[in-house]
């Protein structure tokens, strides 16, 4: 059947076993079945990336490779009792699509009164109705490299996901709430999202990861965001997975001429989390802004890999990220900006500042800048520091207890990344989430 790597880890063996059990069940869509088969082969051939992979250097997967994840139980996912309160967000009322353990849940979703010009549906339904428009994205080939193992895995195994379309010239006021809920233990679930904003269209999306209980599942989500010329996308990513979760995501934005994508990301939960956020600025005057905060504690490991490619003239990107690490956690941030040949007049800025709250915490940050064009403005910087002793004493001298002073200063530090979020109710809520997540105990020596 398939070419399998010599040393088969429990992780890979579990994927193979699951595939055997599912046998030859196809979708009847030839190109899709082929793409899934090819991606599975690619995954089985390479396995998970190992230490020598540059892209995974700071996120070792040795422990993950020893775990065997069964496929998520679709019937259990459909039957799981999920209280809507777990994903309720102030300032976010409107269309909602919910996937539980990778399975669409109509009962939790709100899709019956969509504004005109907006289409939101589960991938499984879109594939039944009209698969051909999805072919380009779902049959895309990825390089056969262990670094992209999760892309292959997702392409091979994702059975559902989210399709969002905004028609040309349509402005959708209320944000589309895309919710991924994890409920099961020791399983792997996968979801695929395809979002397209037509020419001159305007869309807000809130991608939201939550969990019921302390589910220790592996989740993979691969999302494509396509912005046609003059389109606007405001994307908010809220990662509030369970403390035991493993979550690997790739979000890719393709930004057309004069179109603008803005991302606000808050990474809070998870045991092992990786987010690859990539953007291609393909049309003249395209813009990509990203703002993000990752706050870690205990033994969390959160890795954000941002990759922005300026491929057309007069394109702009601005990235402002903040990281906070406490306990024995480890944060990784890599921000790479490439200004390709011909992308003259581009403007790229990247700032990543980090705060270490404990001596055992670690943050690795690596800004990278490659410029092959002319008349480019580019600035990048990264810092790692501690809470300012003078500020701490100032607050305490006014009567604010040490724990509260630490929390206040840490939140102030993170606020630089959230302050530009236009949705005030949501902004306040994210601030409160951060406060709740941030350490409350005294500094470890």
């Amino acid at each position: 059947m398939t070419e399998v790597q010599a040393s088969r880890t429990p992780f890979v063996q579990a994927v193979l076993d699951a595939e055997g059990a599912e046998a030859s069940e196809g979708t009847g869509i030839v190109w899709l079945d082929t793409a899934r088969r090819e991606n599975l082969d690619a995954f089985l051939a390479t396995g998970l990336p190992e230490g020598r992979s540059e892209a995974w250097k700071y996120t070792p997967l040795r422990a993950l490779a020893q775990r065997a994840f069964a496929p998520a139980d679709a019937d259990a996912a459909r039957a799981a009792n999920v209280d809507a309160a777990v994903f309720a967000l102030p300032g976010v009322t409107g269309p909602r699509i919910v996937l539980v353990d990778g399975v669409f849940r109509a009962d939790l979703s709100v899709l019956d009164t969509l504004p005109s010009g907006l289409r939101v549906e589960p991938l499984s339904v879109a594939l039944t109705l009209a698969p051909e428009p999805l072919r380009f994205a779902l049959a895309a080939r990825h390089r056969r490299d262990a670094a992209d193992a999760f892309l292959h895995l997702n392409a091979a195994l994702a059975r559902d996901g989210v399709v969002v379309n905004v028609a040309e010239g349509c402005t959708i006021e209320s944000p589309v709430h895309v919710v991924y809920v994890a409920t099961q233990n020791d399983v792997a679930w996968h979801a695929r999202a395809l979002v397209e904003v037509g020419q001159g269209g305007h869309l807000n999306v809130v991608e939201h990861h939550v969990a019921i209980g302390d589910a220790n599942a592996l989740g993979t989500v691969v999302s494509d965001f396509v912005l046609r010329d003059d389109a606007v996308l405001e994307l908010v990513l809220i990662q509030d997975a369970s403390a035991a979760a493993t979550l690997v995501r790739r979000s890719h934005a393709r930004v057309g001429a004069r179109a603008a994508a803005t991302v606000h990301a808050v990474e809070l939960g998870g045991a092992l989390v990786r987010h690859e956020l990539t953007a291609e600025l393909v049309g003249e005057g395209a813009r990509f802004d990203s703002r993000g905060v990752f706050a870690l504690k205990a033994r969390q490991h959160i890795d954000t890999q941002m990759d922005v490619r300026h491929q057309a003239r007069d394109t702009t990107s601005d990235a402002l990220w903040r990281g906070v690490a406490d306990g024995r956690s480890r944060g990784v941030f890599r921000g790479a900006i490439v200004v390709a040949e011909g992308a003259d007049g581009s403007d790229a800025a990247l700032s990543n500042k980090n705060l270490l709250l404990s001596a055992q915490a670690e943050i690795d940050t690596k800004p990278e800048l490659e410029i092959y064009a002319d008349e480019v403005k580019a600035a990048h910087g990264a810092t790692i520091g501690q809470l300012d002793e003078r500020s701490m004493f100032y607050l305490r001298s006014r009567g604010i207890p040490q724990v509260q002073a630490r929390s206040l200063l840490t939140l102030a530090f993170c606020r630089a990344a959230l302050g530009s979020l236009p949705n005030e109710a949501l902004r306040e809520h994210l601030g409160a989430l951060l406060v709740a997540h941030l350490p409350t105990g005294p500094a470890e020596a």
């Binding site: 001298s397 009567g399 206040l408 200063l409 102030a412």
Partner: protein
Amino acid sequence: MHMLKIHNLHARVEGKEILKGLSLEVNPGEVHAIMGPNGAGKSTLANVLSGREGYEVTEGSVLFNGRDLLALEPEERAAEGVFLAFQYPVEIPGVNNTYFLRAALNAQRKYRGEEELDSMRFLKLVREKLKIMQISDELLHRAVNEGFSGGEKKRNEIFQMAVLEPKLAILDETDSGLDIDALKQVAEGVNALRSPDRSFVVVTHYQRLLDYIEPDFVHVLAGGRIVESGDKSLALKLEEQGYAWLADTHPELAKAELAGDRA
């Protein structure tokens, strides 16, 4: 009972002894000025009293209303009623001035077992106190001290004092860096807060602040101890003669200490 009783205080900074047996007693309602050359230990005294880290007390005691002040955390001292007006107020980007002050007041009230103020009652209090300090509303909406001028920072210190209503206020070189108009405004604020049950320890290098905040007692701090005490005329004498005359009455003080060298 004395409000503040400092007895034979010795303190080190980075292994170097700065305070060498300082004693001082302050009663409710009194204003004490502490003057002295640079490096005499004036700011060290202010920092030791407010509990800043990095100051090691090796000997002596400090009682505040009968309690061992040195055993308390900085926030506990504040809640007990000790307030330090900083020589260099700290800028804290991202923390709103009003939010900060309400958090501080409520933390103190909670410590004392008093009811915390909701935002309505707090704003009412703030409006009353703003009048005293002639501070514009606009400063309240900014981040703590961020982008404030030197005068605005010092006025903000006194404004915080007005809201927190301490029993003992320590002013650490509050006059430094202020022009005469700003100095007058700050002094007016302090004077408005004088009361029979509130005491002040005013640390200053120059006599001119004392033209506006009239002290009950003036002490000269040199070589880590208080070497002279008197009424406000002592300040005038220092203004006229400098600190060098102390060498006549205190031969144990090295010339360098009186000249203000930190060597």
